[in-house]
């Protein structure tokens, strides 16, 4: 009975989706909004990567809200997993004892080699967000993957939560201050033209976008690291 109901629901959704696929015809040209974005981002903002231009200037307010959501999740996960944590989750582990056995040689050596490389790669992704594929969110996620590798490799490794929360708050405050600076020196909140646009495609170009990208990367990296640390048994 139950199974037939599930099959029926999935089949009906499948029908709807199939009609979507059949009716879908690929666009031959850009929509007017997309076309103006593709033209305006390089001309007005001086950023070769159109998507970064949209994320960090035209829709930067949205990005700010999203970082706030991430912060809220880090706090919420801490709230759900914290507090009575000490009694209920730590004590059974002490009884069994062997549940926190050290990770294998391969993971430990791999972490030692990979973590510096991951950090450099994250810095590269964050700093090149306005020139090629990359940006703050992606780089922040790569930083957090390095932290995850460290946590996996060593049971003794403790994430410094105080340092992370201070760095994260500082990055957030600076992000908002940069936005307010855009309000004063340029056209509006988080407008990147408060700084000179520079030469198109150069490392220091596209106004405030690289600065916003770095702040975003640091903030996202810290928040994801905190979330990872909360899940440590």
């Amino acid at each position: 009975m139950r199974r037939t109901f599930v099959v029926l629901v999935v089949a009906l959704f499948g029908l709807v989706f199939a009609s979507l696929v059949i009716a879908h015809n690929e666009r031959q040209s850009l929509r007017p909004l997309a076309e103006s974005y593709v033209e305006l981002v390089p001309e007005e903002l001086g950023a070769p990567n159109v998507i970064t231009g949209i994320l960090l200037t035209y829709r930067a307010f949205d990005t700010l809200g999203e970082v706030a959501v991430l912060f809220m999740v880090a706090a919420g996960v801490g709230l759900v997993l914290g507090a009575s944590d000490q009694q209920s989750r730590r004590s059974p582990r002490k009884v069994s004892g062997s549940s926190s056995r050290p990770s294998s040689e391969i993971v430990q050596s791999g972490a030692q080699i990979l973590v510096p490389l991951i950090s450099i790669f994250a810095a590269y992704i964050i700093m090149n967000g306005h020139r090629s594929a990359g940006g703050g969110f992606q780089g922040g996620a790569v930083i957090a993957s390095g932290v995850l590798l460290l946590v996996l490799a060593s049971t003794r490794y403790r994430v410094n939560l105080e340092f992370l929360s201070i760095t994260e708050s500082a990055a957030g405050v600076l992000f908002v201050l940069t936005g307010i600076a855009g309000l004063i020196f340029a056209g509006g909140f988080l407008d990147n033209r408060m700084l000179p646009l520079g030469q198109f495609g150069a490392f220091f170009s596209a106004g405030a976008i690289p600065i916003l990208s770095v702040l975003l990367g640091v903030k996202v990296g810290c928040e994801l690291s905190v979330i990872i640390d909360r899940f440590r048994a």
Binding site: A34, V38, I51, V80, I227
Partner: protein, 118 residues
């Protein structure tokens, strides 16, 4: 070409839906939820594709003058970056609740949690 990608995303959504409705383990339900999310991202990106388009990043391969005719729609890509981050946030909260639920009943089967059943 984008039809294939669109179909893949929609099939992923169907698999996730099926997994959510048939499995009783909370972790499997969370995995199915993530599958639905991933399928949705693929669908959004597929909708933004323009025939013979390339990534909207200007460089030697894509000059400023030919960008409006050869770039794909940048808006779905920007939205998907947003959606991936929110998806991660939702998954993290769900996993945290799963840990708490396991602590209260010592099982991850959703059949054990009958308090909120009507």
């Amino acid at each position: 070409m984008s039809n294939v990608v669109l179909a893949t995303g929609l099939v992923l959504i169907l698999i996730g839906l099926w997994g959510m409705l048939t499995h009783r383990n909370i972790l499997r339900i969370i995995i199915a939820f993530s599958l639905i999310g991933t399928g949705t991202h693929i669908v959004i990106v597929a909708i933004g594709y323009v025939t013979n388009g390339t990534a909207p990043i200007l460089d030697r391969a894509l000059t400023l003058s030919e960008a409006p005719s050869r770039a794909v729609d940048p808006i779905p890509s920007a939205l998907v970056v947003t959606a991936i981050v929110i998806g991660l946030a939702v998954t993290a909260v769900m996993l945290a609740y799963a840990i708490r639920l396991y602590e209260s009943k010592k099982t991850l089967s959703i059949d054990a949690f009958t308090e909120s059943k009507w």
